[in-house]
């Protein structure tokens, strides 16, 4: 019997067709537990689709996707719910529930999936918001927050259940460079201090260099380059080199 740790995420020949175009084209890759992978690529190359496929929010037309030992692609609703509790997802625009407060947003997964009583939930919510520096804003409504604050609340909510894997969609999109850097710092803390597996989709090369120990560039639904930032810097492919030289802010 093998005791080898399964990869956190595995794509096995995945194809997704949207509007007659293969957004993911026979895509295969693995992400090891504890690894931090940044997925790069131009708009429309299937980066966000990759994240949503891991989460089971989109179903591929062919191929299989695994989270640890569980297959996402043929999971029933109960299995999918179980898989999703092991995944945190920070959406591009945070996707906070705008009818409830910041504190209630972070408490939401805890109320759904734990037996914690109200006092315990309040303590966890306070601790999670303190991690992202927003403990004073617990009673605010999402509409009262800036873009950076919304992202940080989204991160606190994504980490509420302490999932071993965190998926992040464009963490720096729409943020000024300083706020974007603050979000990157929070992701680095999760990577270094909590051993969280990070899969981050970004256009922002400085951010990718900082957060990702491994960078993977997608082009037309396929892996164009995969390796460390240094590996991609030395790539023979002119598109990869051009992308790595850019300072795009997402």
């Amino acid at each position: 019997m093998s005791t080898e740790t399964p990869p956190a995420v595995r794509f096995d020949h995945v194809t997704t067709v949207l509007g007659g175009r293969a957004v993911l084209d026979d895509l295969s890759f693995e992400v090891a537990a504890g690894e931090s992978l940044c997925i790069l690529g131009r708009s429309g190359t299937g980066k966000s689709v990759t994240l949503k496929t891991i989460m089971g929010l989109m179903s591929p037309d062919a191929g299989r996707v695994f989270v640890e030992d569980d297959e996402v692609t043929d999971a029933d609703r109960d299995t999918l719910s179980d898989i999703r509790q092991r995944l945190g997802f920070l959406f591009q625009n945070a996707a906070l529930f705008d009818s409830i407060s910041v504190g209630e947003n972070v408490a939401f997964p805890l109320r759904r999936h734990t037996d914690c009583d109200s006092r315990e939930i309040a303590e966890i919510v306070e601790a999670k918001l303190a991690q992202v520096g927003l403990e004073a804003d617990i009673d605010k409504m999402p509409a009262e927050l800036s873009g950076g604050m919304r992202k940080r609340v989204g991160l606190a909510r994504a980490m509420a259940l302490d999932p071993p894997i965190l998926l992040v969609d464009e963490p720096s999109a729409g943020l000024d460079p300083i706020t974007a850097d603050e979000i990157d710092d929070l992701l680095c803390v999760l990577r270094d201090e909590h051993d969280t597996t990070l899969i981050v989709v970004t256009h922002n090369i400085p951010s990718a260099r900082k957060v990702g120990r491994r960078l993977m560039m997608l082009h037309e639904g396929r892996v164009l380059a995969d390796g460390s930032a240094e590996d991609l810097d030395r790539s023979d492919d002119p598109m990869v080199r051009a992308f790595m030289r850019s300072e795009g802010s997402g």
Binding site: K52, M55, G56, L57, R77, L80, S81, D82, R84, Q85, L87, F89, F91, Q92, N93, A95, L96, F97, D98, F108, P109, R112, H113, R157
Partner: protein, 260 residues
């Protein structure tokens, strides 16, 4: 040209099929636990209690107008004493349920369509799923249950407000006392008259909640999609409600022959 027509018909049929599947899933999931009591109570307040002033004021106005029209007609035959009974019968049997249904298609249909469409375009529905919550049960089934409970109650409020409005108009015209008016109004109202027509509004509630949720869930990207979902929710709910009402009236006549 023929190809375009075929494609349009095919797309329309596909949407009708999707809506039917959506409604069937709602029917299937309503009795299934776990029940989201907190969300149902929240929707009962938002969709039900907050609609009460609208239906009460509208009912009052409908009652006044119906009374004025009924008086103008019955006066010619010297049958003014039938005004309270005629008005109550008309309101409870048909005018009340249909008026309540159409009013609520506007208020609740637009509200559900816009709210769910906004949640769709801002990825809040995806966020619910990402947290491991069945978004259909959490967002759709809870609203459908709230509407099933709220619609008969709101219709009853509208009916009573209408009868009271009729009394105001009648007492101004003829000085009829409140006691006499109510005695005459309810003289011909029995349970077979009141119950089926009031309970049929549960079907209206189901139609409005499912049609609006369906359009909200399918909203396209952007604020334009939110506006479109809201408008289409009102239009689709109203049309379906009027058509289904014809079938329900016929069904009531078959099941309760004394109502005819």
């Amino acid at each position: 040209m023929a190809g375009k027509v075929r494609s349009a018909v095919s797309s329309w049929l596909s949407q009708v099929g999707d809506l039917a599947g959506f409604a069937a899933r709602a029917v299937r999931d309503i009795p299934r636990p776990p029940y989201e009591f907190g969300e149902i109570l929240r929707h009962l307040y938002e969709l039900g209690a907050r609609s009460a002033p609208l239906v009460a004021v509208s009912g009052l106005a409908v009652g006044v107008v119906l009374s004025m029209h009924t008086r103008a007609t019955l006066e010619r035959f010297g049958a003014e004493s039938m005004i309270p009974a005629g008005l109550a019968m008309a309101l409870i049997r048909e005018t009340g349920p249909l008026t309540a249904g159409l009013l609520l298609a506007g208020r609740i249909g637009a509200g559900i369509g816009a709210e769910l469409a906004a949640m769709r375009v801002t990825e809040q529905i995806d966020a619910l799923e990402a947290i491991g919550v069945d978004s259909f049960r959490f967002l759709v089934v809870t609203r459908v249950i709230a509407c099933l409970i709220a619609f008969p109650l709101l219709t009853t409020i509208l009916n009573f407000a209408g009868i009271f409005g009729g009394f105001l108009a009648e007492t101004l015209a003829s000085g009829m006392s409140f006691q006499l008016y109510m005695q005459r109004a309810f003289a011909m109202i029995d349970f077979p008259t009141f119950l089926p027509s009031t309970l049929k509004t549960m079907a209206f509630g189901f139609i409005i909640a499912t049609a609006s949720s369906f359009l909200g869930f399918r909203a396209d990207q952007g604020t334009e999609g939110v506006g479109r979902a809201s408008t289409q929710s009102v239009v689709l709910s109203s049309v379906l409600l009027i058509v289904v009402n014809v079938l329900l009236v016929q069904l009531i006549f078959v099941l309760f022959p004394t109502v005819r």
